[in-house]
């Protein structure tokens, strides 16, 4: 028979995010796009450049108005997306969430790296390098779910497994490098023995790492996510390390999940789906894993090098 893994003409899959100009999404889309191309589908990258759920929903709605086959969405907040996602499902557009979820909606699947595992791993790495003893602090971005999970997991792991590691300060840096800079400077003043600081994203880390460096380099900086600057600093030993979600897998598997959700006729599992009219494609959760970025492997995480290697135009196609 004919290869079933092919899109009909005009079949389009869309990825939708907030703060769309930010680097994290690009490698996700890169593989989303690749999977789409391999299936002969159209793909598009959409979203709002702002950190604003209302605006993101507007772009989601707009994308929806064009009746795409599926949307891979990073819902900035969970519940506000229930109604839009359900509306999408009703009109026949498949929806998969990634990196953040809307669990109460009818989205088909949710793909993410395990934020708790990331925080836990980061805690272990930091504690081990300090021989399980010392003071640490965290910078936060209160209100963003995946970031909160990472921080909480980090702290929880320390408490559970490393009793001699002492949490001496928490400050909100809200993804702003200057706030992170000031926070780390102040923390270092209040706690001269501060040995490590963890933050759940890369923007703050640029400021935090600089402050740590000016403090004489005694403070180990640990974070999640990467960018060129972070990688350079990791290589130079100025940043201790980073846990980086496998963005490529997030995008690729995100597409696959969408595609399957849109083509349930390909699957015929042993259950009551067929008889009762449910979508037989049921994979509620996928873990796309994460990488530990150290000086050894940092070179493989540069976005521009990756783009050059692949010879594509990134999100602009």
């Amino acid at each position: 028979a004919e290869n079933p893994f092919k899109c009909a003409p005009g079949e389009k899959y869309v990825m939708n995010v907030m703060v769309s100009g930010v680097e994290y999404w690009f490698p996700v889309y890169e593989m989303f796009k690749q999977a789409g191309q391999q299936f002969g589908c159209e793909t598009a990258y959409t979203g709002t450049p702002e950190y604003d759920v209302n605006k993101q929903i507007a772009t989601f709605d707009q994308a929806l108005a064009q009746k795409p086959a599926g949307i891979l969405v990073h819902p900035m907040n969970s519940d506000p997306f229930i109604e839009p996602i359900n509306r999408a499902i009703e009109q026949g557009t498949a929806v998969v969430t990634f990196a953040a979820d809307s669990p109460n909606s009818k989205r088909v699947s949710y793909i993410t790296s395990d934020n708790v595992a990331e925080g836990t791993y980061a805690a272990d790495a930091v504690a081990k390098s300090m021989d399980g003893k010392g003071e640490y602090a965290v910078l936060e971005n209160p209100g963003q779910d995946n970031h909160d999970k990472r921080v909480n997991a980090f702290v929880a792991r320390m408490e559970a497994k490393w009793p001699d590691m002492k949490l001496v300060g928490r400050a909100a840096s809200n993804q702003d490098p200057t706030k992170a800079y000031q926070a780390v400077l102040s923390l270092a003043q209040a706690h001269p023995d501060l040995g490590a600081v963890f933050m759940p994203e890369a923007n703050s880390a640029i400021g935090a790492a600089q402050a740590a460096k000016e403090g004489g380099g005694k403070i180990k900086v640990m974070l999640a996510d990467v960018n060129a600057k972070i990688l350079d600093m990791i290589k130079a030993g100025e940043i201790f390390g980073s846990v980086n979600p496998n963005q490529g897998m997030q995008g690729y598997m995100g597409f696959m999940l969408l595609w399957m959700a849109k083509h349930p006729e390909l699957i015929d599992p042993m259950n009551d789906a067929k008889r009762s009219g449910f979508n037989p494609m049921s994979v509620p959760f996928v873990d796309n894993g994460f990488s530990i970025v150290t000086a050894d492997n940092a070179d493989d995480f540069y976005w521009d090098k990756y783009l050059k290697r692949r010879g594509t135009k990134g999100i602009e196609e």
Binding site: S20, G21, A44, Y45, T46, G47, T48, P49, E50, Y51, D52, V53, N54, K55, I57, A58, T59, D61, Q62, A63, L64, A65, Q66, N77, S78, D79, P80, I82, E83, N104, P142, G143, Q144, D145, D148, I315, E316
Partner: protein, 328 residues
């Protein structure tokens, strides 16, 4: 004289002849021109779905714009609106989760917002601080309160009863209630601002506070109540957002104030007080929304969106200004 009185008596604002001389005419023309251009550029633009998405995206904010415009007219400004919207959501949401029925919870949320307005009003009229710094402090404090109430995590209000959710998510013969509420609020306040005696005092106070005092107007009272009104409308918007989103997010609406103020200013409100219309401010909001959604529909690269958006905005206000100036 008779002719004048006649046009006056017809309520006349919608009279075609007068439309040409309206402050808002320039904006209407520009928005229409953009829409026409867009309908050629993208087949998706002139669809009910897209139109609905645009209206939905600004109608709740539109309620906040109403309060802000009146506050700008009196010579004030309110940077705290985004925080108050969130706080109203959060308070109502928390009370609902604590077992209150959502309607009562919402009323309390709105009342608390009004109270915040009253506190700001106190600092402005009794202590004598200016609106900018007072509302800036309020913005920070109220955002802090949101974090304290929620411990930073969004409240999930999945269990809100359908009747309540309908406000934000339901529709009447295909027209979402949100849009209906928005249109009613705008129409009522636009009318009141043009016609009601109480609101005339707002213009006097904003135009020349001293002259208003010398006309026996209690300008402090006027400023106080307008401040309360702005916060109350923000609180009302917060409740509708809660119904629409079925959630109460502590970080919601951060940065909203700039967009709101921009809409009012584009629509002709002066930051120095004394002038502005609700209708104009809503057109300002509509302009911002049309531009944003056009860029998305045209599939403009995200890298370029902000730049193009800013340029269109600048061009639009320049054209509007020049059109209007020529007339004056």
């Amino acid at each position: 004289m008779t002719a004048q009185m006649k046009s006056e008596s017809q309520g006349a604002r919608w009279n075609l002849a007068r439309l040409g001389s309206m402050r808002e005419a320039g904006l209407i023309v520009i928005i229409l021109a953009l829409c026409i251009a867009m309908s050629f550029a993208s087949p998706h633009f002139l669809t009910w779905g897209n139109f609905r998405a645009m209206l939905m995206s600004f109608s709740i904010e539109g309620i906040v714009v109403v309060g802000m415009t009146i506050l700008l007219i009196v010579g004030g400004i309110d940077l705290s609106v985004g925080s108050v919207v969130a706080f109203s959501m959060v308070v109502s949401g928390a009370l609902f989760l604590a077992g209150l029925d959502p309607w009562t919870a919402s009323l309390i949320g709105i009342a608390v917002s009004a109270l915040i307005g009253a506190v700001m009003g106190f600092f402005v009229t009794v202590v004598g601080l200016n609106h900018f710094i007072t509302s800036l402090a309020a913005m920070v404090i109220v955002r802090g309160l949101c974090l304290i109430v929620t411990k930073g995590t969004p409240l999930s209000l999945f269990t809100l009863p359908p009747a309540f959710k309908a406000i934000g998510q339901g529709s009447f013969h295909g027209v979402p209630y949100v849009i209906i509420i928005f249109v009613v609020v705008v129409a009522v306040f636009d009318f009141l601002l043009r016609r009601a005696t109480a609101f005339r005092k707002v213009f006097y106070t904003g135009s020349n506070e001293k002259a208003a005092q010398y006309s026996g107007i209690r300008t402090k009272q006027v400023k106080f109540w307008v401040t309360v009104l702005s916060s109350t409308l923000a609180g009302f918007a917060g409740v509708i957002y809660m119904s629409r989103f079925g959630a109460a997010t502590p970080t919601f609406g951060a940065g909203m104030e700039l967009n709101i103020i921009a809409a009012a200013v584009i629509g002709g409100a002066s930051l120095n007080g004394g002038s502005g219309t609700i209708f104009g401010a809503i057109l300002g909001m509509a302009l911002l929304s049309v531009v944003t959604s056009s860029l998305i529909l045209l599939d403009i690269s995200v890298y370029w969106q902000d730049m193009i958006k800013g340029c269109i905005l600048l061009a639009a206000v320049s054209i509007d200004h020049l059109l209007h100036r020529r007339k004056a």
